[in-house]
Point group: D2
Chain length 437, copies 4
Amino acid sequence: MATAPFFGLDEAARFAGEGSSDPLHFRFYDKNREVMGRRMEDHLRFAACYWHSFTWPGGDPFGGETFLRPWMQAGDPMTRAREKADVAFELFRLIDVPFFSFHDADVSPEGETLQGSIDNLNAIGELFEEKMAASKVKLLWGTANLFSHRRYMAGAATNPDPDVFAYACGQVKAALDVTHRLKGENYVCWGGREGYETLLNTDMGRELDQLGRFLSMLVDYKHKIGFEGPILIEPKPREPSKHQYDFDTATVFGFLQKYDLTNDVKLNLEQNHAILAGHSFDHEVKLAYACGLFGSLDINRGDDLLGWDTDQFAMDVKEMALVFHEMLKHGGFSTGGLNFDAKIRRQSIDPQDLVIAHVASMDACARALLAAERMLTDGALEGPLKARYAGWDTAENRAILDGRHTLEEVAARGRSLQPQPRSGRQEYLESLLNRYV
Amino acid sequence: MATAPFFGLDEAARFAGEGSSDPLHFRFYDKNREVMGRRMEDHLRFAACYWHSFTWPGGDPFGGETFLRPWMQAGDPMTRAREKADVAFELFRLIDVPFFSFHDADVSPEGETLQGSIDNLNAIGELFEEKMAASKVKLLWGTANLFSHRRYMAGAATNPDPDVFAYACGQVKAALDVTHRLKGENYVCWGGREGYETLLNTDMGRELDQLGRFLSMLVDYKHKIGFEGPILIEPKPREPSKHQYDFDTATVFGFLQKYDLTNDVKLNLEQNHAILAGHSFDHEVKLAYACGLFGSLDINRGDDLLGWDTDQFAMDVKEMALVFHEMLKHGGFSTGGLNFDAKIRRQSIDPQDLVIAHVASMDACARALLAAERMLTDGALEGPLKARYAGWDTAENRAILDGRHTLEEVAARGRSLQPQPRSGRQEYLESLLNRYV
Amino acid sequence: MATAPFFGLDEAARFAGEGSSDPLHFRFYDKNREVMGRRMEDHLRFAACYWHSFTWPGGDPFGGETFLRPWMQAGDPMTRAREKADVAFELFRLIDVPFFSFHDADVSPEGETLQGSIDNLNAIGELFEEKMAASKVKLLWGTANLFSHRRYMAGAATNPDPDVFAYACGQVKAALDVTHRLKGENYVCWGGREGYETLLNTDMGRELDQLGRFLSMLVDYKHKIGFEGPILIEPKPREPSKHQYDFDTATVFGFLQKYDLTNDVKLNLEQNHAILAGHSFDHEVKLAYACGLFGSLDINRGDDLLGWDTDQFAMDVKEMALVFHEMLKHGGFSTGGLNFDAKIRRQSIDPQDLVIAHVASMDACARALLAAERMLTDGALEGPLKARYAGWDTAENRAILDGRHTLEEVAARGRSLQPQPRSGRQEYLESLLNRYV
Amino acid sequence: MATAPFFGLDEAARFAGEGSSDPLHFRFYDKNREVMGRRMEDHLRFAACYWHSFTWPGGDPFGGETFLRPWMQAGDPMTRAREKADVAFELFRLIDVPFFSFHDADVSPEGETLQGSIDNLNAIGELFEEKMAASKVKLLWGTANLFSHRRYMAGAATNPDPDVFAYACGQVKAALDVTHRLKGENYVCWGGREGYETLLNTDMGRELDQLGRFLSMLVDYKHKIGFEGPILIEPKPREPSKHQYDFDTATVFGFLQKYDLTNDVKLNLEQNHAILAGHSFDHEVKLAYACGLFGSLDINRGDDLLGWDTDQFAMDVKEMALVFHEMLKHGGFSTGGLNFDAKIRRQSIDPQDLVIAHVASMDACARALLAAERMLTDGALEGPLKARYAGWDTAENRAILDGRHTLEEVAARGRSLQPQPRSGRQEYLESLLNRYV
């Protein structure tokens, strides 16, 4: 299989200017353009992901394969895996992303034994090393798939069977090893089965302890091998499980404190997971910064009217501008990036749909970044925010927050006050935001 | 106004046996019946609440008053407050509850100044002392209403205006003082406005620090005056705010750890708040025990198909049986109780509807308690649960959880395993549960 | 493959009395017990379904096969289909159901061409004839799967490609033919892909016209071949599509009126689909009767906290008692029945889990039927209902509803009135209901 | 009370160009600019509404008044009503809207009797006539509030008490009369209490018949008095009721067909009601056109993460561009308009917040209209749509839709086909849309 013909394209996507109407090129994403002291490419740090684009066949709970990808057809699994890698790196080139990401199970076939699976993974890891050297595409993060195989149906680290826990340790060690070898900048844990289907058969306290232990062991190992990037937890409230322990940012914050993991573990946040938990994407990002846990982002969107993970390509400039505004306030990504955990719709069966979707979403992100830059430079949102809380800046009021007054003292002061509320100015701020997006 | 005629009833509700069809008497609630070593009344510790039953006029966002309660009509506010207290204690007698609960603003009118409000509260506090002595009804908990008045529209402890914070300190100190005087067994904080309407005008990190400080001051004061009960936070994800900081059990756990409050602050959980956060009531209770934060319960139910707080009287025996089963496992309530944070529907305009609603829900609780007792005595759920996790009981596997093995060691062991999944038996357990309820 | 060993059971489930704790036998379902003049079996008319129990491998969007059924492994497809049929009829025997139901694609493999698929279907149809004769199990309904294959990804009748419409006609004709041959009592249409993923590429008006035409042709054909049962539409609001045209009962009522199909097409309702549309099961059933569209029921339940179709085995006696109460009021099923569109959880991997789940849910239904019978016999709900509307029974008020008064006339009368609201008595009615379940 | 000082503004909002940063003036709304042959003002037909802006005090279910409007304070009700009208018309001037809308209860106080209420309404009607003549502001629609007063707690037309039905007839007749006198272009019915709180006390079939009769009488009366505008039903699925009969467009379509009302009754659609029913705004509008029921729009937005009606000012250009695109395809509004059924947040307590909110939302609408115009002129969405269904344009395929083929004929043709699916191109279309907004 020659890969170039798969997409039927030679030329990689490039900046063509806002006036362009070619869906294969960018209108806003100009990777060398400087935004607050950094190249746009270095701000957005886009990563294509392996699973949705190369491993998902287009099925859903009520229907089968629609894509008919050549590398998913019958054949020698390792040969197929290499063909898949060829197409993947061809996509990375066509959409000009600096990073990619993968699960072990996306890139290499399951072996007869765990050792066989690890051998397969390492073989593909070698292939990746060559391709990465040739293409300059880097690894944003790697991860282990601890949720698809039936052995994990009742959880990996939280499984009632300690043998499954041990198996998961074997798998995750190998995935971190290969991530480290490929100079991955982060390592991600998504606990899709770390939760429950019914409380009737679940001991939550015990399972949380198991999960805490598993992560602690992983953190120790990461230090031992000198992996410098953070371990990232990816919160999601439910699906596939009825309830997942990494429900949202706030929940993970409580968990990490309990098991003393806040220094080494950070968050990989996603819009679609945020809304399934009842939060906006902006909320999750702001809370993660407030908790000192911001790490990286999966960039996609859910459908507000549907109750499951749709993982659509992110296209909403306003929503992302608010997220990037918060990020720019904090200096932007360090090891994190924008990982395209997004899948084309199962009806988007043309190979070029994959290219068009990435290009369109990268462009929406770039537009959002430029809007965020303008808002921050103008102090459009920061000015009113600072003014709103200015009353707390006096010495007397700072003293309260610093713990230098008792309830009685402050209460005594309160008894002489008649505080007058001030307008929250929500509509004004929304109108202001509309000026920028 | 004479109160007895308000309900048109003389006789208090009493146990009349399962065959009874009189909605004014109990079929299951037999307060002296022993359940696992304790009288039923001492297990369930029912409390009637002041706000829904005596302060809410029957309005909703699209309609006004329906109840036309005499004590809500024009007149001298303190006289009306005393009339209201008469009716309240008459209800407590008629439904035979051992406890009640209130907000400051439920029981006494707002004064011209904060000091005036406190004086009114203390005057009613004196009246309560007399009535409590005469009736033997005790105070489960008191609380301050920091959400209804416009001064709190942008929060109390989390307000951008420090004067509002100080005013709230004054109010909460007075409410804790009167709760202490009335020998209240707990003190509750519900932060209905401690959250935001829009992130555009909100600094979450700063507001969380304010809230942490506020609670720390309250805890210090509680210790100072010798109030022995816990401070209880009542989680709710949203409504009235778009987002509330006390979203759910897991969120509050993270917050309390950050501000070092886990020893003194516990949780008051509610079914309706649980489902608004996407959790079952059972989940919230089990998680609270797992986090060491279980305190008390508001007993009501929400409508699964509606997106707002309906606070209906709890009638679902199965749901409550699971909650009580968990409680019985842990020995039942200590200072907590079942507080009727439930309101009759706005169309239930007959005074006796109040009596009937409480009697029906107390009966459903009693039936659930008896079911829980039988399940626990039989080990119906505990037996299969213990068996499911039995693999972890070996010395080798306990060592993993105790932190005596590294990832590499466990991974090495995992490489030789082929773990075989076992049935989760969900339908069997559901069928088992149906045998008890 | 011999089928008996698959379940490891010989004895079929039988009535063992309420005191039984054997999950393989019934506590309430006593098929010969008379309920309002009919045998319990003839009231409930249970049907096992083919797809969930024999065709679904235990996968979900994040994980693969868990069940490892022998008949799903590699092999000659028709041989496998016959083995599957053996196991299916063995289950029917073990749980003692009088009916079953299937999609064409459940029972026989897809051929190279449509004609090949039809030939396969007819071959299995012959096998079914034999097995049905031997076992006395009847066919509640048949249907065609117009949603799983990629050709239907954009709809069957509503596809933008008329060739797909024609292909669907071929498939549905064959499925109705075999249903007719097997004396199926109904024919069902579920339009899982008759809807849209995005309005950006959808012409709703045109697609609704296509769907109207398709059904009209099907109705004409049914009359032509003398199929006497109704065509049943199964409403569902979404999933797999973002929006499905058969959203709920009310929507289908509008559609059927527009295309003049109300005489020949009725509804097959499902609890899980009801709640996804924001309705209770009881609502959908009552509305279907009010619209003259009640046909049959899929019996399962969804999870109130999840946003997708979980199709769990129905276990809630109260919910079903209300539905059966409405049915009994209208004389019970005619051609319809209770079809188990329910799947065991993917962790329920023991073959006996299938038996236990059916037995438990049949028992919950039986218990609900008995409760409904008692409520109806006592007039428990009907009495208060009639009393509530009694004011409309006067001649003057009937005249209004009969259209014998103008707005002005009634308005004139209204001007002299001061109507006084009466209590809705919701809590009383809920307490009453709790007496029966 | 002099009204001008209330807002502290003299100058009305005017078009100031895209570069303006003044929140009191328009950046896009240039009322005389021509859009597809019509002035922008004549396309958008903005109406300010009375209830949210002048009658709502800023309360919510957990808190009281925040706005402290002078005209809501104690005093002679009719004097207050006149003061309110002064402020209202001052706002209409300041935001330069061509229309307004009201409920009877918004503009005039309830009297001791229905006749007293009607007299009050007529007196204010006279005042409106003068103010409308002076200001050139017209009436988009009037309506009667049949949901706030306790008499309507169990419905108006659907009340179990026929006296309430008659009272509602009196009230609605008077409201239509005054609407007619003021040359209102439509008359609206919103049935906030036409539904149920619990099915336990509800006879749905009977109540639907009552509602059908009520509307039929209203339609007859409208014809009798020569009111030429349509009666508009406003769908909403729930809130205040648990379930409302006018659930959504599809439900109302079924209802109107049953009672033969499709000619005289159309729809007034709202974004917030759409999403509460699980639909996009665009869906409801497209379906209304497909059913021949499009009438008018309430312009606001809900919060996707909240389960209740927030009625926020619409600010989302993309969402509205799709709606206006559909409208422009059909020639734009006839009698309908964009009614601001939107309320400022309860924290927006400055009078100018009212002005800013309207200006910002009018501007967002104008921007959306311009985007819709460009998309339609370019055929951006229409071109691909037409191409997608082009297969149906052949004579052979048209014949199928025209009913000239039987199922057997089409099925026979289908048996020789192997239809190949084509890409749905969703990401491409989304990228295209992003080019325009």
